[in-house]
C-alpha cells in the first residue's frame, strides 16, 4: 500500500456514526415495532448491543493486522485463490449494499417529496455527488463528515426535543408482553441493517494510538443511541401499531412536531439528517468496494474505475428495486440472515484462521516476512 492517507481516531468515529445512522434512522422503527410491538425500543437496545459485539470481532481483526484491509486479510488468511474468492464476495456485497441504498434514497424521495420527478434523475444526481466524493478521497469526504456532524446533531436535537412532551408512557406498556423471542428477532434484523464490516476496509487508514479501538466502539454507541432514541420517540408518540404500518416512520414522527403552531412542518430537517447520513454511508461503501477492487486486481490507481462503478450502481439499484413492497418484504425477511454471512460469520472465520496462523507464523518468522512482501 503506497501513500496511506491517515485519519484521526475522532474523524473515524464520526464516519462510524454517520454509517450507523444512515438508512436505519428512517426505516428501522417500523421493523422493530412490527416484530416486537411496544418493546421495539428494547429490541433496538439489544440490536446496538449485538452491533457492539460484532465491532469487537472487527476490532480484534484490526488489532492483529492493523495495516491490512479486509481483502488483504482474506489473502493473508486463505492464500491467493481462496482469498481472492472471499475478497470478491466481500467487494460484491459492498457494491450491492451501495446499490440498495441508492434505491432506498430514490424511493423515499419519490414517495414523500418529489413524486413527479423520475427516480432515475434523482438517483443519478446523487450518484454524481457520491462519485465526486469517492474520487476526492477518504481524507476529503471524512472532513466533509466532520463539518456535517454538528449540523446533524443540532437537527437531531431539534427533532427529538419538541416531541418529548408528546411521548405517552402508556404506549410502552405492557413490557415483555410476548416474552423475549420477538425482541431477539427484531434486534437481530435491526443489527443486520448496520453493516459495520464495511468500515474494516478503511480501518488501516486510521492512525492507531492506544485509544483507536474505543473510537470504533464509541461511534457505534453514539449512532446506536440516536437510533434507540428515534425508535422510542416513534413508539412513544404514535404507538406501536401506527409505527409498524409506516414505510418511513421517523418522517411521520417529524410531522408531529408542533410548538405553539409556529414551529411546525419541519419534517424537512428529518430528510436532511437522513440524506446527509445515507449519502455518507453510500460514499463509504462505494469507496470500500473500490479499494477492495483495487487490491484484488492489484491496481496502482483506482480512480478511472470510480465513474463506471458509480453509474453501475444506478443500474443495479433500478434492477434490485422493482417496487416498494418487494424491497420491504426482501429486507425484512432475508436481509439480516444474508448480511450476517458477511458481517458475522466470515469475519469470525477470518479471525479464527488468522489466530491459528499467528501461532504458526510466530514459530516461523521468515515465511511471515515473505507473506507481507507478497501483499
Amino acid at each position: 500500500m503506497v501513500n496511506k492517507d491517515m485519519l484521526s481516531v475522532r474523524t473515524f468515529s464520526i464516519l462510524v456514526i454517520f454509517f450507523t445512522i444512515g438508512t436505519s434512522i428512517l426505516i428501522t422503527p417500523a421493523g422493530l415495532a412490527l416484530e416486537a410491538n411496544q418493546d421495539g425500543w428494547l429490541a433496538a437496545l439489544l440490536g446496538v448491543g449485538l452491533n457492539g459485539l460484532m465491532v469487537l470481532i472487527y476490532i480484534l481483526l484490526g488489532k492483529r493486522h492493523n495495516d491490512k484491509t479486509l481483502v488483504e486479510m482474506c489473502h493473508a488468511a486463505f492464500g491467493k485463490w481462496a482469498g481472492n474468492v472471499l475478497g470478491i464476495c466481500f467487494v460484491l456485497f459492498f457494491y450491492l449494499l451501495a446499490a440498495l441504498m441508492v434505491g432506498d434514497l430514490g424511493y423515499f424521495l419519490t414517495t414523500q417529496n418529489l413524486p413527479e420527478t423520475p427516480i432515475e434523475v434523482l438517483q443519478i444526481l446523487f450518484v454524481i455527488i457520491i462519485v465526486f466524493a469517492v474520487r476526492a478521497g477518504l481524507v476529503v469526504y471524512s472532513r466533509a463528515a466532520q463539518i456535517f456532524f454538528p449540523i446533524l446533531i443540532c437537527f437531531f436535537g431539534l427533532l427529538i426535543l419538541p416531541i418529548l412532551p408528546k411521548i405517552n408512557i402508556n404506549n410502552f406498556e405492557p413490557m415483555l408482553e410476548y416474552g423475549f423471542m420477538p425482541i431477539v428477532k427484531a434486534g437481530f434484523s435491526f443489527s443486520g441493517l448496520q453493516e459495520m464490516v464495511v468500515l474494516l476496509m478503511l480501518y488501516p487508514y486510521v492512525k492507531k494510538p492506544a485509544s483507536s479501538n474505543g473510537g470504533f466502539m464509541g461511534g457505534v454507541l453514539v449512532g446506536g443511541i440516536v437510533l434507540i432514541v428515534t425508535s422510542m420517540g416513534c413508539i412513544g408518540v404514535m404507538g406501536a401499531s401506527v409505527t409498524s404500518n409506516q414505510l418511513f416512520p421517523a418522517y411521520v414522527l417529524a410531522k408531529n412536531i408542533s410548538i405553539g403552531h409556529f414551529l411546525e412542518r419541519i419534517e424537512g430537517l428529518m430528510i436532511f439528517i437522513w440524506i446527509m447520513s445515507i449519502v455518507m454511508k453510500i460514499v463509504i461503501t462505494l469507496d470500500a468496494s473500490v479499494i477492495g477492487l483495487g487490491q484484488l486486481l492489484k491496481l496502482k490507481d483506482t480512480k478511472p474505475f470510480i465513474i463506471p462503478l458509480g453509474f453501475g450502481i444506478v443500474v443495479l439499484a433500478l434492477l434490485c428495486y422493482p417496487n416498494t413492497i418487494f424491497i420491504q418484504d426482501f429486507l425484512s425477511k432475508n436481509w439480516a440472515p444474508f448480511a450476517s454471512i458477511f458481517t458475522l460469520f466470515l469475519p469470525m472465520l477470518l479471525l479464527v484462521v488468522l489466530l491459528l496462523q499467528k501461532k504458526k507464523v510466530d514459530e516461523n518468522p521468515i515465511s511471515a516476512s515473505t507473506e507481507k512482501q507478497k501483499v
Binding site: 414517495t111 414523500q112 417529496n113 418529489l114 413524486p115 413527479e116 420527478t117 434523475v121 444526481l125 402508556n170 406498556e173 405492557p174 408482553e177 404514535m238 404507538g239 401499531s241 401506527v242 404500518n245 411521520v252 410531522k255 408531529n256 408542533s258 411546525e264 412542518r265
Partner: protein, 406 residues
C-alpha cells in the same frame, strides 16, 4: 497545440457550469402557489354505495388583508364530486376546480353521519396513505346532517369556515372539555387497539341552514346559522355505536386525562341558587384488580377546583362550608361518572374509555385470557371515587347576593 488545450479546459468548465445551472433552478415538480387550490376542509358523505366528497377551497385573493374590496366574492368555495372511492371522487373534482387540489393545509375532515354508521376505516385509508396529508388536522362527525352541508356554511368572524372550526374546537377543548380534538394518528391508534374504542367530536348546524350558505349573512350581527360542537360519537370498531352528550364527553375527557379546564355547577344546599366551580387540575387513575374471575376497576379522579360564582346566600367564610362544597362536588362528579359508565356498559356497549387497555397494560396474561373484551366490559364492576379539593374562591369572599341588603 498547448494553446488549444489551454482553451479547451475553460470552455469545458464553463459548459459544465452552465449545465449545472439548469439543475439549480430545481423546477422539476414545481407547483406554484397560483396553480394550487388549497383545500382547508374535506367532507366525506355516502351517496348510495358511492362516496360524495366535498372540498372547501380557499379563494386567496379574498382572504388577503384588503378587506374593502373583498365583499363581492366568497372567501372559500366548496366543490362536490361523487366516486366509488375517495381518490376517484377527488380526481373527478378536477373537472370542476380550476387548479390542482393541495391537501397539506387541511384543517378539518368531516365525516358524514351515514359514513360513520357504515364504517370509517374504508374512507380513511386514502387520507392515511396520501403523502400530502399531514397529521395535524382534526376529524369530526356531522350530526344529523351531511358533511357537505356543513362545509357550505359561512362562518362569522373568520372568513375561512374550516379555520374557524379548527380554532373553535381547540378553544372549546381547552376551556369547556365537552369536545375532543382527535387527529388522524390518534384515531388510527384507537382503531387498532382492542381495549379502547375511538370517539370523535360531533358537529351540528344550529339555526336555519338554508340561509347560512351566503356571504351576505355576515352582515347580520346575530348569526343566522352557527356550526356548533355537540358532544361526541362513540365507535365500536370502526362503526358508530352511539352519541355522547355533554356530560358523557366530559367524563371521557376526565378519564383520558385530557382536561385543561372545565366548569361545573352545584345547587346550593340550604337556599335557592347555584355555586359554580371551575376545574383547574384533574388527574384520573384506573387501578385494576384481577384477583377475581372478572377484573374489577377502581377509578380515582383527583380534581382541584376553584369557586367562580355563588348565586345564593352561602357563608363561604367558614371552613366548614368549603368542606361541605367539597363533598357535594365529589358526589356530583361520582354520579356523573357512574351514569356515563353505566350507559356505555349497558346501552351503547363499547369501551371508549380504555379500561380494556388499562387491563392490557397492567396484566397482559389476564387480558389474553379474555376472548371478547366487548362482552366482558358489559359485566365488569367499576368503582368510582372522586377526590376533589377546593382551593381558591376568586377575589371576593361573600357573594353579592349575600351582601345585598333586603
Amino acid at each position: 497545440m498547448m494553446r488549444i488545450i489551454s482553451f479547451i479546459r475553460p470552455t469545458l468548465v464553463t459548459l459544465v457550469l452552465l449545465f449545472l445551472a439548469l439543475y439549480l433552478s430545481a423546477c422539476w415538480s414545481r407547483h406554484e402557489l397560483n396553480e394550487l387550490s388549497i383545500v382547508v376542509g374535506l367532507g366525506i358523505d355516502k351517496k348510495g354505495d358511492r362516496y360524495n366528497v366535498t372540498a372547501q377551497i380557499v379563494n386567496p385573493s379574498q382572504v388577503s388583508s384588503k378587506q374593502g374590496t373583498s365583499s363581492n366574492f366568497s372567501p372559500v368555495i366548496s366543490y362536490e364530486a361523487t366516486g366509488i372511492s375517495i381518490p376517484e371522487a377527488l380526481s373527478r373534482m378536477t373537472a370542476k376546480v380550476a387548479r390542482q387540489l393541495y391537501f397539506s393545509h387541511l384543517r378539518i375532515l368531516i365525516v358524514g353521519e351515514e359514513v360513520a354508521r357504515s364504517g370509517i376505516s374504508k374512507p380513511l385509508d386514502f387520507i392515511a396513505r396520501n403523502r400530502q396529508m399531514r397529521t395535524d388536522f382534526y376529524l369530526v362527525v356531522a350530526k344529523g346532517t351531511s358533511a357537505g352541508k356543513i362545509l357550505n356554511m359561512y362562518s362569522p368572524m373568520d372568513p375561512i369556515p374550516a379555520n374557524n372550526l379548527f380554532t373553535k374546537l381547540e378553544t372549546s377543548d381547552k376551556l369547556w372539555a365537552a369536545t375532543g380534538k382527535i387527529t388522524l394518528d390518534k384515531l388510527i391508534q384507537d382503531l387498532s387497539r382492542q381495549g379502547k374504542g375511538p370517539a370523535l367530536t360531533a358537529l351540528e348546524i344550529v339555526g336555519n341552514p338554508t340561509k347560512g350558505d351566503s356571504v351576505s349573512s355576515a352582515h347580520i350581527i346575530d348569526p343566522v346559522v352557527i356550526l356548533k360542537y355537540a358532544g361526541m360519537v362513540a365507535f365500536k370498531y370502526d362503526k358508530m355505536a352511539g352519541w355522547l352528550n355533554e356530560n358523557d364527553t366530559k367524563v371521557l375527557n376526565y378519564i383520558q386525562n385530557s382536561i385543561v379546564q372545565s366548569t361545573g355547577t352545584l345547587s346550593c344546599p340550604n337556599s335557592e341558587g347555584t355555586v359554580s366551580l371551575q376545574v383547574v387540575h384533574s388527574h384520573a387513575k384506573i387501578h385494576v384488580n384481577t384477583k377475581g374471575e372478572l377484573p374489577e376497576f377502581e377509578l380515582t379522579l383527583k380534581t382541584e377546583q376553584d369557586v367562580t360564582d355563588i348565586s345564593c346566600e352561602l357563608d363561604i367564610s367558614k371552613p366548614e362550608t368549603l368542606v361541605m362544597l367539597n363533598q357535594l362536588a365529589d358526589k356530583k362528579l361520582e354520579s356523573m361518572l357512574e351514569n356515563t359508565l353505566h350507559k356505555f356498559q349497558k346501552q351503547v356497549k363499547t369501551d371508549i374509555f380504555g379500561f380494556g387497555d388499562e387491563l392490557h397494560r397492567s396484566d397482559p396474561k389476564k387480558w389474553h385470557s379474555i376472548k371478547d373484551w366487548d362482552q366482558t366490559f358489559e359485566k365488569v364492576k367499576i368503582n368510582v371515587h372522586s377526590i376533589c379539593t377546593i382551593k381558591r374562591i376568586g377575589t371576593t369572599i361573600q357573594s353579592v347576593s349575600k351582601e345585598t341588603k333586603k
